[in-house]
Every structure is written in structure tokens, then in C-alpha cells.
Amino acid sequence: MHTPSRSRFLRLALFLGLTLALPDAFAADPAASTFAMPWWGWPIALFAVCFVLGIIAVPAGVGGGVLFVPIVGGFFPFHLDFVRGAGLLVALASALSAGPSLLSGGLASLRLALPLALVASASSILGAMIGFALPTQVVQVALGVTILGIVVLMASAKKSEYPSVPAPDALSAALGMNGILVEAGTGRQVPWHVHRTPQGLAVFFVIGILAGLFGLGAGWANLPALNLLMGAPLKVSAGTSSFILSLVDSSAAWVYVNKGAVLPMIAVPSVIGMMLGAKIGARLLTVLPAATIRKLVLGLLAFAGLRALLKGLGLWN
């Protein structure tokens, strides 16, 4: 017997399948993509797919950027350069619009974010430059491998509400990377601080490279780095992770703009679709079966990662 939420979920899954399958059908033959669908069909299809991705991203607990690049890169006829550029814009716009409420609500910590964002935004420039220097097939293979790695990380990573941090390290203490989390329900004030800051900076250097290289956003990596490695509370880690993206993706986005890899006809419908979808997703948070959607999204990511890998290897074009 289907419950109303299960029925809604099935309809959502069907719509997602159709919106992904339709552009692919037109794009399978490069010549067909020119003649089968008029130019205006592509931004509409892109908007529809991103709208659905935005809806499911929220209950699945993932950022839009990490869904956008492998799925749009795998199933739309755009060159990977433009998909990565649009992916960065999607992640940047989402992070910027979430930033003010995260900061004023105390769910993101500015002083925790700034040193990490500085390292990651510098390395994201390096990542973006590497992405343009490498042959597309190599980037495609690396993207596939990375996405499959993200699926494993997301499926297996643990989270800790309040990690045990016996004492802050000298660097985090000097930089004031601490704060007070006020619990919304009880009003209880929980002081927190972080440790392993040098290791955290090293990890964020790598995260920045991946963000710039693939245009993925990097919330999937920021969150475990802040929460499990550095010991920030889960809520602070989640908010700060999103806020860091607003700085990291800014510098990488400029590399893509300078290289001509930001095409408004691809980037803007994607940004609008993803942001509207995320607003709907946030409202449906209590209705949609989050655990099931998370499994669906992980399955979708695994499929898109495999598609990117096989496309890069020339086995599925």
C-alpha cells in the first residue's frame, strides 16, 4: 500500500527519470541535438532538471553543485568546460544566498571559515588552471573517479553532533576559531573550539583544488573535514561548509569567466532552477522521505559518476 508521501516520491522519481532521459535521447547523436531540439529547448530542459535536482538536494543533504556537474555533463550535449563553469556558478549562487541567514543565525562561523577559505580559494585557482590544461578526456575520467569516491564517502562517513575536542591547538586559538552555539529549541549555549588546524588547512588546500578542477562545489568534503577532523559541532560545520563555498568558488569562478567557460544560456537557467528547487525542497523537507531520497541521490550520483568515467574512457559516448 502506498502512503501519500511514498506516492509523491514515486512521481518525483519518475519525473526526474524523464527529465534526465529526454535530453539524453536528443543528445545521443550530436547531429540530432542540432536539429531535433530548438535552441530554446535546452535551457528549458536544463531549468527543469536543475529544479528537480534542487528539490532532492535539500532532503538528501547534498549541495547542488555536486549533482549538477556529473548529471548535466553526462546527459546534456554541452562541453565539459561550460558544465564545470555553470556548476561553480550554481554552487556559488546557492552559497551566497544562504550566507546571510547562516551568519546571522549563528549556524556559520566567520572566524572558523576565513583561514580555511583563504587556503582553499587560492588552491581553487590552481585546480581550475589544471582543469583547463588537461585534455577533456582526462578531466572526464578524473571526474568519474572523484564522483564515485564521493558516493563512497557520503555513504560511509559518520557525523558527530558535538565532537570531543579536549583543547584547541595553538593556531586555532591564535586565530579565534571558536564560538558559542545557541541551541534553537532549548536556548542552551554550547561553547566550542577546534583542533588539528594545520591538518585542516592541508585538507582544505586539496578541497580547493577539487572544487576549481571540477566545478563541483565542495560541501561533501568541507563538512567531514570541519566536523570529524577539526571537531566543530555538526550544525556549525554544515553552515560554515556552505559559507566557505561562497569564498572558494568566487576565485575559481573568475578563472572560468576569464577562460570564456561561463555561458549565460547554460549557467543562468541552472542557477535559477536549482535555487527555486532548493526553496521547494526546504518546504517539503517534512513531507519527502529523506532517507529514501538520499539513497536515490547516491544511486543517481553513482550512475552519473560511472557515465563520466566510461565517457572519458571512450566506452560510452
Binding site: 542540432t34 585557482i125 573568475w254 549565460p264 543562468v268
Partner: protein
């Protein structure tokens, strides 16, 4: 640095306020400029019907095929709708700079020189990326 009853410092609140204004303005500009472009209210540099043949190309070849110079070359074509839309995108990519600039005086007055320097360096990184000097944009 003093904290309010939510445990938030003045730096965090100031950053959030500036970010809200700039992000809302930038997103609104992006949507309006894209509307002008997609509805054909202003001629684009690259005709709409040519896009399906061009967006399959790598970015470098796209620039060559459309006669757009890399780096800041696009600013010479701001009278074209597709290029004008990039202004909205550039506004979002530059949004963090005024926010960082807004909190630097707070850190200066509080004698938090390490945070002041980090903000200055972050602005430097974004401006360097935007300049195209290290990215081969020029």
C-alpha cells in the same frame, strides 16, 4: 571582541548584512539581464540558433569561433545581450570582496591583525583571479 546574546560578533553580523544586500542585488540583476537576453530584447553577440553548434566546443575554441577575446575582452561587447548577462555573473563572483572590506576596519579597531591580514589576502586572491594575470586570461 564582544559577542551578542546569540554568541555572534560584530564582524559576523556586518559581513552578513553586506552579503545580503549584494547577493540579492546581484541575483536580481542576473535574472533581469538574462530575461533581456533570452527574450531577444537586445541583440546578442552570438545568435541564439548558433548556440547548439558552439556549446559542444571547448571554451578556447568557443572564444575563437565567436571572436571574443579571453580575459576581460568580453567587456568590449557589453552592448550585446549575452555579454551583458555576464555582468550579473561577475557581480556574484565579486560579492565577497565588499563583505571582506566591510569587516576589516572592525578587526583593525579590535587589534585582530591576523584576521585583518587574512581578509586582505582573501581579497587579493579574488582580485588576482579576476585580473586574469595568473590564469592566462590575458
Amino acid at each position: 571582541m564582544e559577542l551578542n546574546d546569540k554568541g555572534l560578533g560584530r564582524d559576523q553580523l556586518a559581513y552578513g548584512r553586506v552579503l545580503a544586500v549584494i547577493t540579492h542585488t546581484g541575483l536580481a540583476a542576473l535574472v533581469i539581464l538574462f530575461g533581456v537576453y533570452v527574450l531577444g530584447l537586445l541583440d546578442p553577440h552570438v545568435a541564439h540558433h548558433r548556440l547548439p553548434d558552439l556549446w559542444k566546443l571547448p571554451a578556447g575554441q568557443f572564444l575563437e569561433a565567436t571572436g571574443i577575446a579571453p580575459g576581460w575582452g568580453w567587456t568590449a561587447l557589453l552592448h550585446r545581450a549575452d555579454i551583458l548577462t555576464l555582468v550579473g555573473i561577475a557581480a556574484l563572483a565579486f560579492a565577497s570582496v565588499p563583505c571582506l572590506a566591510a569587516i576589516m576596519p572592525i578587526y583593525w579597531r579590535a587589534r585582530r591583525m591576523s584576521l585583518f591580514v587574512i581578509c586582505a589576502l582573501e581579497i587579493g586572491v579574488i582580485v588576482l583571479a579576476a585580473s586574469g594575470l595568473v590564469t592566462g586570461g590575458h
